[in-house]
Symmetry: C2
Subunit: 142 residues, 2 copies
Amino acid sequence: MPSTDRSLPIALLRARERVMGPIRSLLSGAGLTEQQWRVLRVVQESGPIDPTQIAEKACLLLPSLTRILQKLEEKQLISRERDQEDRRRQVVQISAAGEKVITDNLEASLELMERTRRKMGAERYEALLDLLNELDQIELSD
Amino acid sequence: MPSTDRSLPIALLRARERVMGPIRSLLSGAGLTEQQWRVLRVVQESGPIDPTQIAEKACLLLPSLTRILQKLEEKQLISRERDQEDRRRQVVQISAAGEKVITDNLEASLELMERTRRKMGAERYEALLDLLNELDQIELSD
DNA sequence: CTGAATTACTTAACATGTTTAGCAATTGGG
DNA sequence: CCCAATTGCTAAACATGTTAAGTAATTCAG
């Protein structure tokens, strides 16, 4: 057991890779990356929404999101149009094909997380989420 | 507060970004990326070592490490030579300039993590590390 | 001893992360 | 009203993540 176990940055990295591995495998079957999936879910859950809000909810920077939206549009999983009130803005919507991708994969995706939760124990799982959110808040106040 | 707070993958992502932000700022002053720094520290701590072991300790895949070692060699922070026993293998060593980068930045880097630990509280900080390592172990047994 | 695995690493191709710069639309102070 | 600042998004450059393929050195079964 290397000393990197007690390094917070590396522990966070390892844990995330471990959790995302199975999810990536699932999504690669649908021809989607993890980030494309995250964006698609945000758009599906929120309804018509602009890129700035998508970036916030999906935890992505705008330059990354720009490329991801281009890819999703190429795949015809979303549609985009200019906002008529403010023409700097766009309105992004999920397409029927996009909805189908969601319904085809959401259940299995949720099941993967549920399995992790069971294996870890609900209490410890919630405690981990609480500590992670606390860390996110605490570092904010620099 | 969006529902993504209760999504483990996103919580892990956010926490990691929050922790790494200040460290990235520090290292960019030294002209290093987070990963280059991680590799340099592993090589410094371990002494002469081969890329496969570096990848394991620094939590990187070999293709990424190949490029990072090339960059570090260009910057003359490390040196590489073939292993005489097994010529598929390399032996990587830190240079004097590399040692200097470490001594110039290690203290501030450790101080950043120590500050996080204090702000969060030692107990909660250790609990978080334990839960992250537990998650890493549990997902392994798929 | 020899050719088929295996190992250690590299290369390539594509996607994203990160920073900086750029452009067009909008807003707000004088 | 008007131009400077701001906002929303895109482009570009560089580094890394991820997967697949490639190469050279080594090992091992027959």
